[in-house]
């Protein structure tokens, strides 16, 4: 999977490395900005009130 991505990135090794870093950062951004905020309330780690629900 990662090998496949690497082979399909353009440019020489340095350009590919740089593009890989950009891709990783983009994925981390999407996770922190959209995926985790969505997932967090669905997980039972942070209910702090007594409400009987």
């Amino acid at each position: 999977m990662y090998g496949w991505i690497w082979r399909h990135l353009p440019g020489n090794a340095w350009v590919r490395a740089l593009l890989s870093i950009v891709l990783v950062l983009a994925v981390v951004y999407v996770l922190f900005q959209y995926v985790f905020p969505w997932a967090e309330p669905l997980l039972p780690f942070n209910d702090v009130t007594v409400d009987g629900q």
């Binding site: 999977m1 996770l31 942070n46 702090v48 629900q53």
Partner: protein, 225 residues
């Protein structure tokens, strides 16, 4: 034969990479919950807190605007500075690095009320983690609530390290489970426990010891010096 084996190896390596990726994503989620939400929440709370202080400093006429918060909670034993207090205990409130007072299922009293229970909730971890150190509170420790013109000094008289989330009676105006049977001016802190999970709730009860007028320099009461 060789080709089939190659395909097999390829599938296994993709599967392995997916597992590694899942591990990394879960690790990132921990970083997100325990660090990044704190960064965001503290930023929001600092901004709202400054707003509240600005409003207090403005001696303009009209009712006090409490949209950004009603005051600050100071708990020396928790060693976390001041905690802004807002209305409500929904995640929309608590996720911004503040403590909230209950409006539901049992409505909280406010500190200035002649009797009742001022009931608060805040996060144990993440989103500012304002009650992270709740276990450090012992009987006799002080909890100080600061409003525009009064310091309310409470003393802890009882802690309940573990109860269920269904135990809403801890919020009663007279919290009988704490051993008190007469109306008074109480404060109740609630958060989740054990740390990093929310299987149970941790409760701390305090009782008002005295109220001090805020002076010109906002000199804090002896408990905070």
């Amino acid at each position: 034969m060789a080709r089939a084996r190659n395909r097999m190896a390829g599938m296994i390596s993709v599967f392995g990479e997916l597992l590694i990726t899942a591990g990394l994503v879960l690790g990132l989620f921990v970083v997100y919950s325990l660090w990044w939400t704190n960064v965001l929440a503290d930023r929001a709370a600092d901004k709202d807190g400054a707003q509240v202080r600005d409003q207090w400093a403005d001696q303009g006429p009209g009712a006090l605007d409490t949209k950004d918060g009603i005051g600050f909670l100071h708990v020396p034993a928790m060693q976390n500075g001041e905690v802004l207090v807002k209305r409500g205990t929904g995640t929309d409130v608590l996720n911004h690095g503040v403590a909230g007072y209950y409006t539901d299922p049992i409505k909280s009293a406010l500190p200035q009320d002649q009797q009742g229970n001022f009931t608060l909730a805040a996060h144990r971890d993440g989103h500012g983690a304002k009650f992270h150190n709740i276990h450090k509170l012992k009987t006799g420790d002080s909890i100080v609530f600061e409003t525009k013109d009064t310091w309310y000094v409470y003393k802890v008289y009882k802690t309940l390290p573990e109860t269920t989330k269904y135990n809403v009676d801890v919020l009663q105006p007279v919290p009988r489970e704490s051993g008190r049977t007469k109306p008074g001016r109480y404060i109740t802190l609630t958060t989740c426990t054990p740390v990093y999970t929310s299987d149970y709730r941790y409760i701390v009860w305090g009782e008002l010891e005295r109220a001090e007028k805020v002076d010109r320099d906002r000199t804090p009461p002896a408990e905070l010096r």
